[in-house]
Assembly symmetry: C2
Homo-oligomer: 285 residues x 2
């Protein structure tokens, strides 16, 4: 378990506080976005990729992106004196009355929350994780796919399918049966020569470490294709790994009853990914 | 426009207040449900249907349904001295830390908010409404379909497609192209002998007035079939109407460039539906 735990600090629109109005559209409709960043050495990792995805989401949802300088200043303040943790940046469309129609002059609300560092077992990235398949389908909507928006009931219900703490992750399929990824991770299959990862144009989230993995693979000359994957492709794969901003990269050693040898994966890529994913690069001390 | 407007009163877990913790899972993930009830003569309409849908949603999301007696008491208190308005009952899974995994002992949060009465033009139900089709697809997820959960970004983005106040509603299709219904209404087509309405087993919401319409049609001997509908079925239809807990029933007089004669609809059913949808039956003075 990634130890939920209470927030350590929280800034709402730059002011210390822990409560928002019930009229916030993030609550009413999930009308907003979030980013979850690993904090190391007092600074967030993959800052640029998280900001870019947030900006893309704001454009697609149709409200102003918070200024980078504002976010950077608030993050630096929030992380003062902090070495390691998890930074959650949540942006909603702000207050609204009743009804779906957004205001023509939205005033987005920024909610920055600092949590304790993740406590995933170290052996999960060293020796691989056990994963399972979930029955809960992933939401399908081409307009929302890829974004890290606040409509996450599908992941919540999929994650509620198991409580065995030795199972690290569950894989989800879309309504049509295509494999999409984990409840909180992206999936990569290795066929011995190249990588395959589910396209996120109908379902799923374009993870920051997913993007990093694709970029590193390109630099290292490893082919990587975004495609449709069926359950049979999981069995056929020589190996697989999962990516996520907090976990970095987890090789999979077992999926349901099927075993994989993490040593068969392209270990140079895995190591580079592990290092890069945890490189502090954002604002901080 | 259905005048958004600020809340008149709000009760959170039975206590007057307007703010919730940022850790509420309703905000984090849309992990909750809501009901929007018309209030007339100081009491909510279609109370039983709203409670039943809420209870079904709680069971499907896997957290305890608030006791009916608790809700009834809180609603009666909230509506004291009020004649007409809109009552929003929102229930979330309650507080949670970071991460999708729900607590094993969820403590749902009840948020009851009272808004002013809807101000839809009277002629909309007398002479029919103008509707349009939306580009934004409805989310597809068979496990979530039918529920009035808090993951409503698809309706928000569809509703943001137009600002012309003379257009009452927009119709949405699922990712596969099937017609699902309006952004905030259910759709019925009339072929001169019976009704057709989109099935809500993949996308869409099982509206309370939709259920009422189907029950009334059965009583009146009017066949009504839940089915898949394509865009061509809209053009072929002799007439159509929209249902919603606040609007009751709206005949459609124009959809995009296509005109329909509201007088061709089964007017006995429309009238009965209009009356029943606005019959106060819940707790109150």
């Amino acid at each position: 378990m990634s130890g939920p735990g209470a927030p350590i600090r929280c800034l709402i629109d730059g002011v210390s506080g822990r409560r928002i109005p019930v009229t916030d559209r993030g609550l009413s409709y999930g009308d907003g976005l979030f980013e979850t960043l690993l904090v190391r050495d007092g600074r967030p990792c993959q800052w640029r990729r998280h900001l870019d995805r947030l900006a893309l989401g704001c454009r697609r949802l149709g409200f102003p992106t918070p200024a980078e300088s504002t976010l950077a200043g608030e993050v630096a303040g929030l992380l003062r004196g902090i070495d390691a943790g998890v930074l959650k940046v949540l942006v909603t469309r702000g207050d609204g009355g009743r009804g779906y129609a957004p205001r023509s002059d939205p005033r987005p609300r920024r909610i920055l929350t600092l949590f304790g560092a993740p406590d995933y077992p170290t052996e999960w990235h060293l020796r691989g994780v056990v994963a399972r398949t979930c029955r809960t389908p992933a939401n399908q909507n081409p307009l929302l796919a890829g974004l890290k928006h606040l409509n996450r009931l599908d992941s919540v219900l999929a994650r509620a399918e198991w409580s065995d703490p030795s199972v690290a992750e569950g894989l989800m399929a879309g309504p049509g049966g295509d494999i999409i990824g984990g409840t909180m991770t992206n999936l990569f299959l290795w066929d011995g020569a190249g990588l395959l990862t589910p396209a996120v144009d109908g379902c799923g989230i374009a993870g920051t470490v997913r993007g990093l993995a694709m970029d590193l693979a390109a630099v290292m000359g490893i082919p990587c294709v975004e495609t449709r994957l069926a359950r049979a492709d999981l069995i056929r794969a020589r190996g697989m790994f999962l990516t996520n901003s907090l976990a970095g990269v987890w090789p999979v050693r077992r999926l349901d009853a099927h075993e994989y040898d993490p040593e068969d994966l392209p270990l140079g890529l895995i190591r580079a990914l592990w290092q890069e994913a945890q490189s502090p690069e954002g604002p901080g001390q």
